[in-house]
Symmetry: C2
Subunit: 217 residues, 2 copies
DNA sequence: GTCTATAGGAGGATAGAC
DNA sequence: GTCTATCCTCCTATAGAC
């Protein structure tokens, strides 16, 4: 099904093949833009990324970018919607027979992998203009709510099953999981070049769920 | 003992009282600058903080700022040196009879408190110009090395004593502790207004050392 | 919708008088 | 060393031709 954005009167009066082709070209280009933005956001962060860079990376003029997205903030928003969709797809694909705790671990592992692969956009939490744009982005907010609801449900189940420590409020657990997406420990360890990506993920995953203290005893 | 920066030929030929007074005024002003920078860095981060803001906050002209510090990066560097000194003072003041593990917990607790009080400057890890300036700042690097060495020693002792999980490489533990200084979980929980500062600190401290998983069994 | 060219403005840094 | 007044670069966003 076409989304509303790509459907208009002009296209409705053209022949179906041409319409589809045009629409596909449009979406393909926007996908290319989002991919570039995503990578640049992961590499340098929102402030350091310039719109000129994005245009150059995509291979189009800056003015053309602004025909697709009205502002730099909207570019970042589109990238966030993109990762949110990927997250939703990942949640959908989790094996049904897995326990709630296993699912939570898998999600964090996926997040860390995305970050190490340089595909996790990093946004400043302070920029208010960006925050406003993001809060007004329905696609993003809907995705965020959906993901939060699903993770929240698993957190409560895992606590009821005694896998997750019940002394932590579920919201604190949720935030702690989200925070792994901006954990600088990954970069620190990567810079040291002492450990492979998989080892780094295992380390961070274990410190997150098991804690630093020795267990048992 | 006067540091080199404040000692010059003009002052050597003046009378001692006047010299001391002048020098104290100078240092007092630089302290005021650093305090402002520290607060603004904690509030908005390095990129969002403008030099105009700093000047306005201190109550002096922007050009005067640049007589004290040659660049915005050096301003941030001075703020980092300041917190590093505070950290060193905190380490010095820790009770000698405390165990290595207790000391590590105390340090993280102190860090979290500083962050919640809005006194922990937050710098981007990507800005290369800032990184270069910081790496070239001897005072900062010396302080960082000293703190890292002391924490590293405690980490090894705590592992030998079975308090800290020995499966984690000490360097990974060190980074994990440092990372608490930029953990967004604190802001998330503070924004929710459900928990007091002390409760937030306790939550983050426990997730850090005990992990999310249920213990024992 | 894509381009070239440019407006408009924020912000880091400096000149030069005192 | 402090000030006022600028300079100058960089970056977001837009105008206008095709």
């Amino acid at each position: 099904m076409l989304n509303y954005k790509g459907y208009n009167a002009t296209m409705a009066t053209s022949n179906p093949t041409k319409v589809s082709f045009k629409a596909q070209m449009l979406l393909a280009r926007e996908d290319a833009i989002i991919q570039s933005v995503n990578r640049l956001l992961a590499e340098k962060g929102f402030e350091a990324m310039t719109v000129d860079e994005v245009a150059a990376d995509v291979g189009i003029a800056k003015a053309s970018l602004y025909k697709h997205f009205p502002s730099k903030e909207d570019l970042a928003g589109a990238a966030m919607v993109s990762v949110m969709r990927r997250a939703q797809a990942f949640l959908d694909a989790l094996p049904a027979q897995a326990s709630a705790m296993e699912k939570l671990r898998s999600v964090v592992q996926w997040t860390l992998g995305l970050k190490l692969a340089g595909e996790m956009p990093s946004l400043p939490s302070q920029n208010s203009k960006l925050r406003t744009t993001l809060m007004g982005n329905k696609d993003y907010m809907d995705g965020l709510m959906d993901v939060s609801d699903r993770l929240g449900a698993w957190i409560e189940v895992a606590q009821a099953q005694g896998a997750l420590n019940p002394k932590f409020p579920p919201i604190a657990v949720l935030y702690t999981l989200y925070a792994r997406a901006c954990d600088p420990v990954l970069e620190f360890l990567k810079m040291g070049e002492l450990y492979s990506n998989d080892e780094i993920i295992a380390l961070v995953l274990d410190t997150c769920f098991d804690g630093l203290s020795a267990r048992g005893r």
